[in-house]
Every structure is written in C-alpha cells, then in structure tokens.
C-alpha cells in the first residue's frame, strides 16, 4: 500500500470517529482509547464498526469489534481486513 493510501485510511477512520463521537479531531492520537478517553460505549463501537464497513466495503466480524479499543487498533484492524480482501 502506498503512503498516500495509508494516510487516507487513517484520515477516513478518524473522520468516522469524529462524526460518531462528536469529538475534536485533535483529540485523536494512535493510543487514544475510545471508552476511557473519549467516553464511547458499546453502542458507539457498534456504530463505528458499521460506518467502517460501509466506508471500506469490508465485513468486520463480531469478535473483532471488542478489540477496537484505541484509534490505532481501529486503523490497524481496517488495514488487516483490507489486506485479506
């Protein structure tokens, strides 16, 4: 994957988190924790997964969602799923 493609994935993931959680983009670093730092709950996590599925045309398995704890986890997870497909 090109550097531009990686950056665009990161950008899109952050955009989804910003929209779903109504947080400022500047709050999002690789280790920012969705629950602990941004006040998200399990319903938010489900909605973020849903938006990721739509945006990247991927299928996120149910057991992957609880592993999406930090912004970095999500970006990494999306990259993995894209690589598999």
């Amino acid at each position: 994957m090109t550097r531009e493609a990686v950056e665009s994935i990161e950008d899109a993931v952050k955009g989804i988190i910003v929209a779903e959680l109504r947080v400022d983009r500047s709050q999002l670093g690789p280790t920012t924790h969705l629950m602990k730092d941004l006040g998200a709950d399990s319903l938010d996590a489900l909605n973020i997964a849903l938006r990721l599925e739509e945006r990247f045309r991927i299928k996120i398995p149910d057991d992957a969602i609880p592993k999406f704890l930090t912004v970095g986890d999500i970006i990494h997870g999306v990259n993995e799923h894209l690589a598999v497909q």
Binding site: R22, G39, L43, L46, N47, L50
Partner: protein
Amino acid sequence: MRRVAVTGIGVIAPTGVGRECVWAALVDGKSGISRIENFDTSNLKTNIAGVCRDFNPEKHFDERELSRLDRVSQLAIAATEMATREAGLTNGQLDSYDAGVYLGTGFGGQGSIEEFCSAFFVNGKGRRSAIAIPKSMYNASSSNISIRFKTRGPNITVTTACSSGANAIGQASHLIRHGHAERMIAGGVDAPITPVVMDAWKEMRVLSTKNEPPERACKPFSANRDGFVLAEGAGIVVLEDFETAASRGAHIYAEVIGYGSTADASHITFPDPDGEAHAMTRALKDAGVKPEEIDYINAHGTATKLNDASETEAIKRVFGSRAYEIPVSSIKSMLGHSMGAAGAIEFIATVLAIENQVIPPTINYEEADPQCDLDYVTEGSRQAARSTPLRTAISNSFGFGGNNAVLVLRAPVQ
C-alpha cells in the same frame, strides 16, 4: 393509606416552555397551533399541528446526547428537569429505590422509528444503527429519565393512547398511596408530528382540516367542529407522600385524591359513554367524594364529532341535572391533542386552575350543538367566585382502544 401531593410541575406545550408561560397562555385563551414547516404536507389535507416551537433541545443537551435521544426523550427529560427543580428535590431524594418514574406515551420514539425504517426500506440495508432500538423503544423516555435523575424505584411506561399520561399519574399516585414509593416522577410525553403519523390520521378522517387560520381550527363542543389537531408536548409532575412533602416544607400545589380507569370493551375507536361514565364514578369513589363536590371538569374534549358528544353524555350520566352547573372546558382547543402527553398536561392545567382559582376556557366555540349542551366556559377564562371556590376537580382522558382514565384533584388541606 397515605395522601399524595403534587410538588413539582414541568410542562412543554405548543404555547411555551414551563409552567408560568403555559399557564399564562391558557388563561389568555391563546392557541399554540401553527403551520407544519419541517416536512412536506402537500399530500395531506391538514397542514397544521401543535408544534412546540419554543422548545430548543440544544439548550438542554449536547450534540452527542441529541444523537442518542429521540425528540420524545428530549421533551421528557427537559420537563422532568423543570419539575424536579421546582419541587426542590436534591439528588439524594431522587437517587433512591423509593423514587420512581411512571410515564405515558402513545407513540414513543416514532420519529426515530420512521427514520430507521426509511433507511431500511429505501436503502435496503438492514443494519443501519446500533442506536435504533434504544432510541425508539417505547420505554426509552422513562428509562432516560431514571438514568439522568438516578431514580431506582419502579420505572414503568404505560401506553393507552390518549389516556396514557392520565393513567401514568393515576398509577403513580396509587404506588405512593400504598407505600410502594415515596415519590414519583409521573406524566406523559409524545412527539408524534411526523409524515407517517399525519398521513395515517388523515386516512382515519379525524383531523381537523380547517387549516386557515391554524389557531381557530380546533373547536371542541362546537357544532362546526371537524376533528382534533395533532400536537406534541410533555407534562411531568412530581408526586410525593403528602406528609413527607409537608414536613420538608415543599410547596404543595394540589392533592391527587382519586383515580378511575376503565375499558369500554366495545370498539377499538368508537367511544362508549358508559365506559367513560364509569371511569368518572370509579374515580369519585376512589377519592371518597360525591358528584356534587366537583367544581370543575377538565374535559378530554378533542373536537371530534364522536368524542365531544359521548363525553357530554357521560358527564350527564354521572352528574345528572347538576352537569349543567359544572364548568367543563377543553384546553385542547388551544394546545391541540398531544396524545400520550395530553392527559398529563391537562392534569397540570387542572392543578393550576385550583392553585390560581381560574378556569381556562374552551376557545373557538362558534355554534351550539344540541348534543353538547353543557357550560363549556366559552367566553374566556373564568375566575372562581369567592363564594364558590374551586376546591375539587376532575380531569378526563379517553383513549382509542376504549381506555378511559379520570383523575380527581383537591386543593391541598394540611
């Protein structure tokens, strides 16, 4: 048996937000009915409704909360904030297993249901949001109240169409009376002004089509009435054990002394004066008062042909010839019909009528109907005479399904 006091009032209606504002408009005979502006009404015969234009959700909730709460929950929480603040309740008094919520709603999160159904059917994608169920379920409003105010006792949603709010207040009062709770947040809420609901009511031909001017559309008990006007709103009261309320020095607006609930057991929409009359007599019996003690009747008074004639007949069956001497008024003439909220908002209006010794009017009355021949207070609001104070009153609510609920109120006596 314990007595039940009303110690806090929160109300959001098409005429305003808050007790003082809504009451002032009722006394002035001001209508809150206006043109629907937030969706296309060109395929409807009715383009007016009782929209709560002065309610600004942004003043009460941040963006994230707004995305999680249907308008119905927003109205319910905002009205509860007012009622509990007014009652002077501290967090400790609500954060208790002795405090609960009993809430009525006819349509629940209807706006959200339509939004999610639209996403499902139009886009063909079944799974659109993880918030769909928690946002639109019927008990979302009462649950959101308990989550926000930390009430841990009974938390119950009642849905009996247009009598939901009255049944909720009646049931809550009985919980306190029989010692199942110390204090209850009780009332009704609805936000049903949506494209699908407006269209569905149109097909039943029960909405007024007198669109011009909107404020004159709803004409309860008048011969030229042609149906109700759909509205939204919330009416929330804090009910408390009377002795506890008195000992903490709370202002007691009125006492809930009786509640009667019946089913017509006849037709899903056609009203039966017998079921309605029995709801009144059972409420009076529950209150331990005689029909001759009732000084005012806050009517269901929807302005449909059927309701107003049936309710008038029911009142005559209960009160006999004295029916002609009791003032009967319908504030739906001003606020429209807010479905599950109506019974609660009308209960609040009855409380305030007793508190202020003023009977709100039935506006827009134009032509005498031989089937509706009582004193409907059509000449404007009426000050109770010093010789005949307004002490005891009833509020009627009759819902589709034949669900009748009547509440009896009395001026507080220490």
